[in-house]
Amino acid sequence: MINAIEVDGLAKHYGPVRALDGVSLEVRGGEIFGFLGPNGAGKSTLIRLLLGFLHPTAGGATVLGLDIVRNSVDIRRRIGYLPGGIALDDGLTGRRHLDDLAALSGRPPVRRAAVCEALELSDRVLGRRIRDYSRGMRQKLGIVQALQHDPELAILDEPSEGLDPLMQRAFYTVLDDVRAAGRTVFLSSHVLSEVERVCDRVAIVRAGRLVLTGDVAALRAQHRRRVELRFDGPAPDLAGVEGVSDLRIQDGFLACALTGDPRAFLAAVGSRATDLTIEPARLEDAFLELYAGEEADEAGLAGARHAAASDEGAGGASPGPAAGSADRGDGGR
């Protein structure tokens, strides 16, 4: 299967402002790919470049094997798009709006009924004018218009914005169905739990530059888990054990941080443990580490990148091509 998206050194500059600076990434067919970053990091800029709304300053990209500059219309024939904070024609009913957009897509809305049902958009609701819709209902309608024609690739910018937790869960079910049908989803978000829940792989962008790409699970594994241990007898000797840091021992209680493979740690603890808690690593920790700004631990970031680089090619996380140490706090945007 060809990659759904291939981005090669894509850049968008506005004079001295580098909204996107030499980003390269690949989104595989059939996966849900999360594009993470805070507001202003360049997420929407990349999406707008892929859709042909913006013209690249440098680099290039293909979507579904088609060049984003030369074949923009052909690309848009095969994708669905949910813009961030979608605006809709308030004077139309939801159904009329969906019909109009389906007609413009040139493909029948084969997935509309299923998505509407999952998101609880009833016929009665679709018959009302959009001006009477709540923010959440508008967002649901936006999701339906992006997916109703069963596109090969759905590009969703902040898709769960405005959805209540129940609807967010329903939306994740929709995404699971889309993935099960072999479709690809490119999802931009700054909601970490959402990316962690639904995405196979993730890229993190900061100040217009790609900081990391990789499997969600691998990213989590590279970051620190908090460990708490109660033990009998003398404290286990964990000094120098690979992956262990921030060690604190007091009265039969041990706390530390653990990175990477836990086997060396477990071997050192041996049979002295009476109770052991290892909190799962969270993507949020990885994210916060990468976004700590000038105050971040430079060594920690370099370590994460080094570990990511060592996993490259083995399904692990990999640093973006622009993720050199010069990235830190360059204020590119």
Binding site: R48, L51, I79, Y81, I86, L104, S105
Partner: protein, 270 residues
């Protein structure tokens, strides 16, 4: 193949149909009144004018024979109310078509579909051409209905009226094309609306000024209003060159829009 989107054309037509209907009815009624005024008050008003109470500068605005049927119809055609009704669709709608959608944020939902920006521009231009045709058609029907109702229909030459209809349609198409090109060049609605209103007022004033004040007549060729002269056309002296100038203006504006719009960056609405 000319880039054109039938679904977009139908969507635009549906969105504007009530506005088009209202303008058509208003224009029809307005045009109906001109032959009625001529048939009912023309003779008395001509006597008033003959007394010399109206200054020459204003008489020049009314043309050489304002209370002939042709003069009455022509006067209504280029009266500020008539002009306002004529331009409200091609200019009023045209100027909001792209910048308005851009400002609201609905343009990106539209452009996420397989519709090129050139197709979008040309489709909107076709809609404006249709709106202009409806407006002109309503005015012609109103004029004929009024003239027939008051028994003066025979005084209108169908060929002259047809030429006037074509002349007016091209005039509106040119203004609509300029409005659309301006609309395609900005992200915010305020600027294109300001340019359109300012341009219309300036063009109209230049034409009026040149008519009232011979020393300013040299300014008139620089306004599109100069190339719509209903009195001359209905008087049997149409100027085919006017059609060419208006067509050239429409083509130039469309060419600019088709060049400019696809090259613009459409950043995220703020």
């Amino acid at each position: 193949m000319v880039p054109f989107s039938v679904p977009l054309f139908l969507r635009t037509w549906r969105a504007q149909r009530l506005r088009v209907l209202l303008v058509a009815v208003a224009l029809g009624i307005w045009a109906f009144l001109m032959p009625v005024i001529y048939a009912t008050f023309g003779r008395q008003l001509a006597l008033v004018l003959d007394t010399g109470i109206v200054p020459d500068a204003f008489l020049r605005l009314l043309g050489p024979d304002p209370f002939s049927l042709a003069g009455a119809v022509a006067l209504g055609w280029v009266h500020p109310i008539g002009i306002g009704l004529f331009v409200v669709l091609p200019v009023g709608v045209g100027v909001t078509m792209i910048a308005g959608e851009r400002q609201r944020g609905t343009l990106e939902v539209l452009l996420a579909r397989p519709v090129s920006r050139r197709a979008l521009f040309l489709t909107h231009l076709a809609s404006l051409a249709l709106f202009a045709a409806v407006a002109v058609g309503a005015a012609v029907v109103g004029t004929l209905a009024g003239a027939t109702r008051y028994g003066v229909g025979a005084d209108l030459d169908p060929a002259d009226l047809a030429f006037l209809a074509l002349n007016t349609w091209l005039f509106l198409l040119a203004l609509g094309a300029v409005a659309l090109a301006v609309s395609a060049s900005f992200d915010r609605l305020a600027v294109p609306v300001g340019v359109a209103i300012g341009g219309l007022l300036l063009g109209y004033l230049l034409e009026i000024l040149g008519t009232m004040w011979p020393d300013a007549a040299w300014l008139q060729p620089y306004t599109p209003f100069h190339y719509l002269d209903p009195l001359r056309v209905l008087g049997g002296r149409p100027v085919p060159g006017d059609l060419l100038v208006l067509a050239a203006l429409a083509v130039a504006a469309a060419a600019f829009g088709l060049w400019r719009f696809p090259r613009r960056d459409l950043a995220a609405p703020s």
